[in-house]
């Protein structure tokens, strides 16, 4: 199957290795992976800031770039949800674009969901060994039902021990622009998340959305924790250590 990888703007900027890990996982699952080169951002920051025009501009761009492919996969529940569940509403007033948004929507997947439920990845390529605790990112969890998929994939690695943290489903406090507009509140919420995660004494905090991971990592380091690793689930699944 032909799969277009939506890298996401944060991965492009901050952690390209997550993009390459996603690429490797999809190829291992037998997909032909295309990375449309003109892709930038899904437009969620504009949409959540109330700028419908800017959100629509970027929605149309993504639709035009990705609608030709059988599937679109993103290593982020948040971005996948934006394309899948928000684009039709953003473009509701433009019948042609709305139709194209709807036609694309059901083919857009978060990475772990796609690997488990569509591509049915047989064997995970990595050899990560250590204990991990999993943070469920809000949008993936509550809008796309991402909960068992990453855990099922991690369970395929014999060296991984999953230690569930208390309140794993609680928000980490990122919230996109919220993290900058209300930095103190955001960081205080992140502190609760880090405290819960660290109480498991896991070697790594793992999640499926880079925004949350940057927030958690930033708070951990500020709290003086320099050893707990913060990793995207795709990095863990492809780790060669």
């Amino acid at each position: 199957m032909r799969v277009a990888l939506f890298v996401t703007c944060l991965v492009d900027l901050m952690r390209p290795r997550i993009g390459f890990a996603a690429l490797e996982l999809l190829e291992t699952a037998g997909c032909e992976v295309i990375v449309p080169e003109t892709q930038t951002c899904c437009g969620q920051p504009a949409w959540n800031s109330g700028d419908r025009a800017a959100a629509a501009l970027l929605a149309k761009k993504v639709i035009a770039e990705f609608e030709a492919y059988e599937y679109v996969v993103a290593p982020s529940g948040s971005c996948a949800d934006q394309i899948r569940n928000e684009y039709p509403g953003i473009l509701a007033e433009e019948p042609d674009w709305h139709g194209r948004a709807v036609a694309l929507a059901s083919r857009v997947y978060e990475l772990t969901d796609f690997l488990v439920n569509v591509a049915r990845l047989g064997a995970v390529p990595g050899n990560f060994a250590g204990s991990v605790t999993y943070h469920d990112s809000c949008t993936g969890l509550r809008s796309l039902g991402i909960k068992t998929q990453p855990r099922a994939l991690l369970a395929q690695l014999p060296g991984v021990e999953l230690r569930e943290m208390n309140a794993a489903e609680d928000c980490c406090g990122f919230g996109g622009t919220f993290s900058v507009k209300f930095g103190e509140i955001s960081a205080a919420i992140a502190e609760r998340k880090c405290t819960n995660a660290c109480a498991t004494h896991a070697d790594a905090i793992v999640g499926g959305d880079l925004g949350c991971l940057l927030n958690i990592e930033g708070k951990l380091r500020r709290m003086g924790d320099t050893t707990t690793r913060v990793l995207h689930v795709a990095e863990v699944l492809t780790a060669k250590e």
Binding site: L13, T139, R221
Partner: protein, 474 residues
């Protein structure tokens, strides 16, 4: 009540620095969230019940005027007087007039958030009628110089035991007590006197039942029953959206309300009050008034914010909100805090008066999944943000930054160039370290945490290089 929502950021910082509040918030989260999670398991089909509740509330809102007329007709037939209030000032005018008509000196109140919206206590005092709050939490706030509540069902959740002990000692002029049972006994003794001497009882109303003309009250302390049965006059102050068609509908909503609010299967008291005292009744008011209040609600009917009118004031959204759990209720600045407050405050007090509130949410949707009437709270918050943009209420630099960023993101070559420079700049700032402690372009981020350093080359660069490599080797 005058809104202090404009000062949200300053209020929130003060809340973060308040150790008593922070301690109480931690305990409250455990109580409300965990207890609700257990209580909802008692219902075989909780999701189905939520859906039924949503549908029945929607059915009301589609013909709100007709249900209100039916309520008025049935309440009037049982001897009650139904009055209408456009805003808070009109609520106050009605209650003061009723007080004068019946020569009222003292009014005992059970909890009513609408009386907070109206600032009713102030108006009563000015008119020479003594208002006495009889909900324990509200009473504590009243004797603390009419402090506003910080939660819609647990109004003093921001207070510590010591503070209450001090207040009671000072107000009641009794020896200081620090045990909760002793403090509640003292409150009970003080309030009993007020129940017996009040000429008027004022209550809110959780629901108005159209088919019987009744008001349903959901309480835990029993003060609601005292207030509504002992004084000769009972005034119910509630919003026009609280009407429901039938007692059967009430039973559906009652399966959800106490469980969502306090994690109780049923509250200690559920009262359905109908009409004035009849000749063979043992108790009840001789005069019963309903003041049905608009105060911004009618305008929401048929608008893109109509879903908000389904709200049954359980507080589950704030109990589960990561922001509320971090800053408590006072920071929001008006009557209603948390997600529902961040929607109602701008809608009822003016969008321009609560600019920060719709943005003070991570849009995590924990509120949306626990709301017993399935209000899409994050979606309504986002719509309010959109309304702010459309009406030019956002700061100019934010508007320009968004437009410029979107324009660049729509031009891949330019975007590639920008990110090429951006990641190198950030990498340079990190100076070989894994994170950046102070980021001038996003001071909000680094106020409370580091900014992790980027790898140093964008994905698109590395991918292009990899493709070139692959082409060369093939």
């Amino acid at each position: 009540m005058e809104s202090r929502s404009r000062r949200f950021k300053a209020n929130a910082l003060a809340a973060l620095a308040n150790p008593v509040l922070q301690g109480n918030l931690k305990t409250a989260k455990g109580k409300f969230v965990d207890k609700r999670a257990i209580a909802i398991r008692e219902i075989d089909d909780f999701e189905g019940t939520r859906e039924a509740a949503k549908n029945l509330r929607n059915r009301v809102l589609e013909n709100l005027d007709l249900w209100l007329e039916q309520f008025e007709e049935n309440a009037s037939a049982r001897g009650a007087t139904v009055l209408w209030a456009k805003d808070g000032a009109e609520i106050c005018r009605h209650v003061v007039e009723i007080g004068k008509r019946h020569d009222v000196k003292k009014a005992a109140k059970s909890k009513s958030m609408l009386s907070e919206e109206a600032g009713l206590n102030h108006a009563l005092t000015a008119a020479g009628i003594q208002p006495v709050e009889t909900d324990l939490g509200e009473y504590i706030l009243q004797i603390n110089d009419n402090e506003p509540p910080s939660h819609i069902i647990a109004p003093v959740m921001h207070k510590g035991l010591d503070e209450v002990a001090d207040l009671f000692e000072k107000t009641h002029k009794t020896p200081r007590k620090t045990e909760i049972p002793a403090l509640t006994r003292e409150a009970r003794e003080v309030l009993r006197e007020h129940f017996l001497t009040a000429d008027m009882g004022i209550s809110g109303g959780n629901f108005l039942v159209a088919e019987t003309g009744s008001v349903a009250l959901v309480t835990n302390e029993g003060n609601g029953r005292m207030v509504t049965t002992l004084p000769k006059v009972h005034v119910v102050v509630t919003g026009i959206e609280k009407v429901i068609p039938t007692l059967e509908d009430l039973s559906t909503l009652m399966r959800l309300l106490p469980r969502s609010a306090t994690g109780q299967s049923i509250s200690n008291y559920v009262s359905v009050l109908t009409g004035v005292k009849q000749p063979d009744d043992h108790d009840g008011p001789e005069h019963l008034y309903f003041i049905l209040v608009d105060n911004g609600r009618a305008e929401l009917v048929g608008s893109e914010f109509q879903d908000m009118l389904r709200c049954i004031r359980c507080g589950a959204c704030m109990n589960h909100c990561p922001v509320y759990q971090t800053i408590g209720g006072h920071a929001y600045g008006w009557v209603y805090p948390g997600p529902m407050g961040s929607i109602l405050t701008p809608l009822y007090t003016g969008i321009e008066n609560a600019i920060d509130l719709p943005h003070a949410a991570t849009l995590c949707n924990q509120c949306g999944v626990v709301c017993p009437v399935k209000i899409p709270l994050p979606e309504l918050l986002r719509k309010l943000r959109e309304t702010q943009v459309d009406t030019h209420l956002r700061p100019w630099f934010e508007r320009i930054a968004l437009k410029a960023w979107a324009w660049v993101a729509a031009h891949p070559k330019l975007y590639g160039l920008g990110t090429w420079f951006g990641v190198r700049y950030l990498k340079w700032l990190a100076g070989g370290k894994a994170s950046i402690p102070v980021l001038g372009t996003a001071p909000g981020w680094t106020a409370g945490r580091d900014f992790p350093a980027p790898e140093g080359r964008t994905f698109r660069e590395q991918y292009a290089a990899m493709r070139a490599e692959r082409r060369k080797s093939s």
